[in-house]
């Protein structure tokens, strides 16, 4: 396989299928500017930018959980590639001038995250991004020394220096573009495939029964980096364009399983929903640039954020087997038990389908976590409701973090259906949750808190859907002091 590193073609030989980009950079190429702080996607010290070969709009990713094969044919920019003629890039200079580094270990990661924002800002006319855009862009970068103020300031200053783009020259493809994508990209005892079409994906899955699918790798790669698992056969579906599209189909919004969160953000078909506000708190920018909706479902986690949303939307998930047979399940039926789904060996998720009319119903999505940014939910609550003259015409309530699987609150829904939405009715529905869920106590929250929160969030949602939003500080984001 091959990729472009800071503009230069790298032919990778003798790599194994489980190699991460970060390890390759540090151990094989001696490019040690990119750091490892956690190897789990949580700290951002390993942040690099990637772009398609002919593209100049880079995206920040966590190289620690990026499988090397997934950057096949793409451009990778690391901190070593920012200087030009021995001169620091404006992002780097701003970090120095603002005293943005103390121990310096997090610094290359911040520089790369800010460089991504810098490049996007240049593309939009070179205006200085707002404070919110800066804190969003670095929410996946942890710094234990500075307290962030000087780093945010560097973000506010970086465009005031003489401007200089990165990825100026799209790399020209000199490698072999016409590889047979049914053959492994990385071969040997451990194999890494990267098909470009669904039919080739099925063909590979048919001959490799032990294969493990990988999309963004933001869940799967942690098996490798945290538990030292070695997968024998990895099939990367991120190069299958037809899995990565969003469109309208027969009264449904179809979201391909390979659609990444950053593609969903701001998408016109979902513009009327509160999805963006939730996605801004799903992982970090680096995670959203890689993580897919299909991966979120297939991973089977009870605390994933998308399943409750999809349930509230009344969405179906479409599963395809090696013979090309398709089955559609309502999302709530896709989950069988703790980390168990309908997926059989050789199956893959092709897409989710959201009924157009349900997507347009009023919704509220609330995520509760210890930390506001880049944290896994303690409780995730998604509610959709249509009212007619104060009476509940339709309602769907779904939770993450409340059971072994993401689940709907059917009893509460039943109580609400057809009722006039008074405060008492709302309270009764909230109380019914106590009988419907037996959540666990764990490192994120206690069972009693989870139960109370399920009710608090439902109350907040139903009231907001009935009365309009109360001035709620946590939805408004930035708040001022007294």
């Amino acid at each position: 396989m091959e990729f472009y590193l800071n503009g230069e073609l790298q032919q990778c030989t003798g790599v194994d299928a489980n190699m991460t980009l970060l390890r390759y950079l540090r151990e094989r190429l001696g490019k040690v500017g990119t750091k490892e702080g956690c190897a789990s996607g949580d700290c951002g010290a390993c942040t690099v930018l990637i772009a398609d070969a002919d593209d100049t709009s880079p995206q920040a990713i966590n190289s620690c959980i990026c499988l090397l094969g997934s950057v096949q044919g793409r451009q990778v920019l690391t901190v070593e590639g920012l200087e030009q003629d021995g001169e620091l890039h404006p992002v780097q200079q701003a970090m120095v001038d603002c005293h943005g580094s103390q121990c310096g270990f997090c610094t290359p990661g911040f520089v790369m995250s800010l460089a991504g924002l810098y490049q996007r800002s240049l593309a939009q006319g070179g205006e200085t991004p707002g404070r919110h855009a800066i804190t969003d862009c670095i929410a996946g970068n942890l710094c234990r020394c500075t307290g962030y103020r000087p780093i945010v300031e560097a973000g506010q200053r970086m465009l005031t220096y003489p401007q200089r783009g990165i990825f100026n020259e799209p790399a020209t493809q000199t490698g072999a573009p016409d590889r047979d994508d049914r053959q492994p990209l990385v071969g040997g005892a451990q194999r890494y495939y990267q098909p470009r079409s669904r039919s080739n994906l099925r063909a590979i899955l048919a001959v490799e029964p032990g294969a493990t699918l990988v999309a963004g790798g933001t869940d799967l790669a942690l098996e490798i980096t945290q538990r030292y698992r070695e997968f024998e056969v990895l099939v990367d579906i991120s190069a299958i364009d037809s899995l990565a599209t969003i469109g309208e189909e027969d009264g449904y919004i179809r979201i391909g399983a390979g659609v990444r969160y950053h593609q969903l953000m701001g998408h016109p078909l979902l513009a009327s929903t509160p999805l963006d506000g939730l996605l801004a708190r799903l992982g970090s920018e680096q995670v959203r640039n890689r993580g897919t909706i299909g991966g979120n479902l297939a991973n089977g986690s009870p605390i994933a954020d998308m399943p409750p949303v999809l349930m509230a939307w009344g969405a179906d998930v479409e599963v395809v087997n090696t013979l090309g047979e398709r089955t559609r399940y309502p999302v709530e039926d896709f989950y069988l038990d703790y980390r168990q789904t309908r997926l059989q060996a050789g199956d893959y998720i092709e897409a989710v389908y959201i009924p157009m009319h349900l997507s347009r119903a009023p919704h509220r999505f609330y995520k509760l976590s210890k930390r506001f940014e880049d944290d896994i939910s303690s409780v995730m609550c998604a509610v959709s409701m249509t009212l007619d003259g104060g009476y509940v015409l339709g309602v769907r309530i779904a939770y993450g973090g409340m059971a072994a699987v993401p689940r709907r609150a059917s009893a509460a829904e039943q109580q609400l259906l057809g009722a006039q939405l008074t405060d008492a009715v709302i309270d009764n529905a909230c109380t019914s949750l106590d009988n419907e869920f037996q959540p666990l106590s764990d490192v994120r929250a206690s069972a009693v808190y989870r139960l109370d929160m399920a009710a608090a969030l439902l109350r907040r949602a139903l009231r907001a859907l009935r009365d309009g939003d109360a001035p709620d500080v946590f939805e408004l984001g930035e708040v001022s002091h007294a």
Partner: protein, 772 residues
């Protein structure tokens, strides 16, 4: 010889860098990715990597270990158990009990049992998973309150006393009693623990990420049964330390050194984050209880307080940590009569260790909680209660040290005014009076922090300064750079002392063969001590240069000046490099060591009395929050800080320390929650479930200012230490969160809200207030 050209331009700006906001010495390398950390060092051929097999029980006898599968695993080159250690297996920093590899008993989940060296980190990690260990489980002790009840202490209990607290409590108009469990904290330095050992013909050369290279050297030598001079330890920089790299790095360095000696190959031991979070010590959780007596105007008459540190399974540095918790129970307040007792409780947990503040934060947060409770009881604004109790010159601390400066009163008054406290208090009250689930809270909290190691002998430092023939200067000292800006501050001191520009001064890596027997870089004293030692070295060289210049140019020594990169001798003005090469040709020594011992300090551990601190660093912060009391979610909306660093050597670095310390302390008190399950397994074992603050947690209004007053003591250019004290400033955030909850019961009382105030704890506090 070059011609001496007097190129001095009297109109050029002075080059003296002291007091200037120079960037961190490696800033340009940090942003370029070219600053080298231990794991960035090039691999030697045949390099090996280490992983350890650890205990899965909190307390058990080890009946046997089957390691054949480990030895046979792909890539494994060597495996060691305790019996393979040639020297001492005990690597404790002060007392004993910290074993490099466990013997027949294990005392916490994650305790190393055996170690593997293999050709890659992954191979080593996979190999250790193949071990079969046979345990006989024993009953673990996991609650600090149980240790306290059973008097299961690692070290003797110590008390300090002032006046007659029992009588004063009995006589006090009002009293309050309470208890508080204070959470610990994971360091989460961004660079995990790491060491690299390279064997050489006499012993081993170690590159460590350590705040205490001299200790790493000593312990590695003891493990290898070598004299100290056969082991050299170098530390160029750490990717953060915060106390977590004071005693903890020794185990990694010792194992790497052991394998290096056994195999003759270079050995790298880097702990992955998940291992670091399980295997290394954290900030001590504490359990504190108190009775405080006060009068109707909230003035404290007496305090009786117990602080019980959860030390984990060994003493490590807990003696001093519990001392500091106890002797900061007064924070900024005169207690009149006090009895403070510190307990060092044993539990079957990883041995807790140094963390920025060294116990003081855990004492102070309890005190600040009862200051707020006194205010509710007497119906006063909490700030007025605090102000009424602030130390004034002449007051005595419970440990017998007299307060000499009057910084606290002035500083608090200045912040109260500059942050507009009274008007904002009124606005917060008005907002909360509207009712509703959103509530605001406000709090202004002072902090006083004693500067010096409480272990008196550690208050010494050495430095080494060379001037080379081109006039460039190299300085090294026993202090280590972990991001706090020590290297640039000492370089600034050296530049001023020699009268040269900062560009001439290069800070060199800290190395045990340049400056021996150094103390750890800790207790905030790095610049105070190493700066003074470097100054001493410069003064020695300077004296020789002045005497040479006077003699060479035929003038009085009094007429010689070193400044602005030149030497002025009578009528002569010589550029510094030219003068230096002249001195060299005239056989003047251009190198010197320097030494410093902190004056005035003494402390009697038995009586708990003395002057443990050279001086106090002071500060205050005012924080405002808004809380959604229906869920416990909150945001910090504004922070104003005024902090006393004496005459700042480098305001940008000092402000960076204050901001960084504030946010780190805020994390400790809010979202950072350590948790263990009933078997003693730590469940907060990854950044995915242990949440340190992000940029979005820091309010846009985060105003940090320096209190402008030089240190009254004769410290390096009258600056003050800054590393630890700011960590306690965000206690104001915690108090503000509680203040917001208290609005739900019309401020009749403060609900209990043991730190960390996670959204869940804030929610329960709000529930308690609502119940009334």
């Amino acid at each position: 010889m070059r011609k001496l050209t007097p190129a001095y331009n009297p109109n050029a700006p002075a080059v003296d860098p002291v007091g200037k906001s120079l960037p961190q010495d490696s800033a340009a390398r940090h942003v370029a990715g070219s600053a080298v950390y231990v794991d960035d060092m090039p691999a030697y051929p045949d390099q090996l990597h280490v992983a350890v097999g650890v205990s899965s029980h909190a307390h058990a006898r080890v009946l046997g270990m089957a390691l054949d599968a480990v030895r046979a695993a792909p890539g494994v080159v060597d495996v060691v158990v305790q019996a393979d250690i040639p020297g001492s297996a005990d690597i404790s920093p002060v007392f004993d009990g910290d074993l490099l590899l466990a013997g027949d008993t294990v005392h916490y989940v994650g305790q190393p049992l055996f170690a593997v060296a293999a050709t890659s980190l992954e191979a080593a990690q996979r190999a250790v998973q193949l071990a079969q260990v046979d345990y006989e489980p024993l009953v673990p002790r996991l609650e600090v309150t149980e240790s306290l009840a059973a008097e299961d202490f690692l070290l003797p209990t110590r008390r300090s006393r002032l006046g007659d607290p029992e009588a004063a409590l009995a006589a006090a108009a009002m009293t309050l009693s309470g208890e508080m469990a204070v959470g610990g904290q994971e360091h989460f330095y961004l660079e995990g623990q790491v060491a690299l050992a390279v064997p050489d013909e006499v012993g081993v050369q170690i590159y460590s990420s350590s705040q205490h290279p001299a200790e790493v050297q000593k312990l590695a030598a003891e493990v290898l049964d070598l004299p100290l001079h056969a082991v050299t330890v170098q530390v160029r920089r750490m990717g953060g330390g915060f106390g977590g790299k004071e005693s903890q790095p020794a185990a990694l360095a010792c194992l790497a050194a052991l394998f290096a000696r056994r195999t003759g190959r270079s050995v790298r031991y880097r702990m992955p984050r998940w291992a670091d979070m399980v295997q290394t010590g954290k900030r001590h959780p504490f359990w504190n209880r108190y009775t405080v007596g006060f009068d109707e105007s909230g003035v404290i008459q007496a305090l009786v307080m117990d602080v019980a540190g959860n030390c984990g399974c060994t003493a490590d540095l807990s003696d001093g940590i519990v001392d500091r918790a106890a002797n900061h129970a007064d924070n900024a307040y005169f207690l009149k009569n006090a009895a403070v007792t510190g307990y060092r409780c044993r539990t079957n947990m990883v041995s807790h260790t140094a963390f920025r503040g060294f116990g003081a934060p855990q004492g102070i947060v309890t005190t600040e909680a009862f200051m707020d409770d006194i205010a509710r009881r007497v119906g006063m604004d909490p700030l007025d209660v605090r102000k009424a109790n602030l130390y004034r010159p002449g007051d005595s601390t419970p440990y017998g040290q007299e307060i000499e400066e009057s910084v606290l009163v002035d500083l608090v008054a200045e912040l109260e005014h500059s942050c507009d406290y009274r008007a904002r208090r009124a606005a917060v009250a008005a907002f909360n009076a509207q009712g509703g689930t959103l509530r605001r809270g406000l709090s202004l909290v002072p902090v006083k922090f004693g500067i010096s190691f409480t272990t008196t002998h550690l208050n010494q430092a050495g430095a080494l300064v060379h001037i080379y023939t081109d006039g460039s200067v190299h300085v090294s000292h026993g202090g280590t750079e972990m991001g706090q800006g020590l290297y640039i501050k000492v370089a600034q001191v050296v530049a001023r002392a020699l009268g040269v520009s900062i560009e001439r001064v290069m800070p060199g890596a800290t190395c045990t063969d340049k400056v021996p027997n150094a103390s750890p870089t800790a207790a905030s004293a790095g610049t105070d001590m190493n700066g003074m030692a470097a100054l001493d070295a410069c003064n020695r060289i300077r004296k020789r240069l002045v005497s040479f210049a006077a003699q060479h140019f035929g003038c009085d020594e009094g007429a010689v000046e070193l400044r602005d990169d030149h030497v002025f001798a009578g009528e002569q003005v010589v550029p510094f490099p030219d003068f230096i090469s002249l001195a060299y040709l005239n056989r003047v020594s251009l190198s010197s060591t320097g030494f410093y011992r902190t004056p005035k300090i003494h402390f009697n551990r038995e009586t708990g009395q003395g002057r443990p601190f050279f001086y106090f660093a002071n500060g205050a912060a005012c924080s405002e929050v808004v809380v959604d009391t229906s869920t416990g979610e909150y945001r910090v909306t504004r922070v104003d800080v005024l902090h006393d660093v004496g005459a700042s050597l480098n305001p940008a670095i000092d402000i960076g320390q204050i901001e960084g310390g504030f946010v780190q302390g805020m994390g400790w008190l809010t979202t950072e929650e350590l948790s263990w399950n009933d078997d003693g397994v730590i469940t907060s074992n990854s950044p995915a479930n242990y949440k340190i603050p992000t940029a979005a947690d820091v309010p846009e209004h985060f105003d940090v200012r320096l209190f402008q007053r030089p240190n009254a003591e004769d410290t390096v250019y009258h600056s003050k230490a800054v590393g630890e004290p700011p960590l306690m400033l965000p206690i104001s955030v915690w108090c503000a969160l509680r203040d917001a909850c208290a609005s739900l019961c019309d401020y009749r009382f403060n609900p209990r809200m043991d730190p960390p105030a996670t959204p869940e704890r804030v929610y329960w506090a709000a529930r308690e207030a609502l119940r009334g």
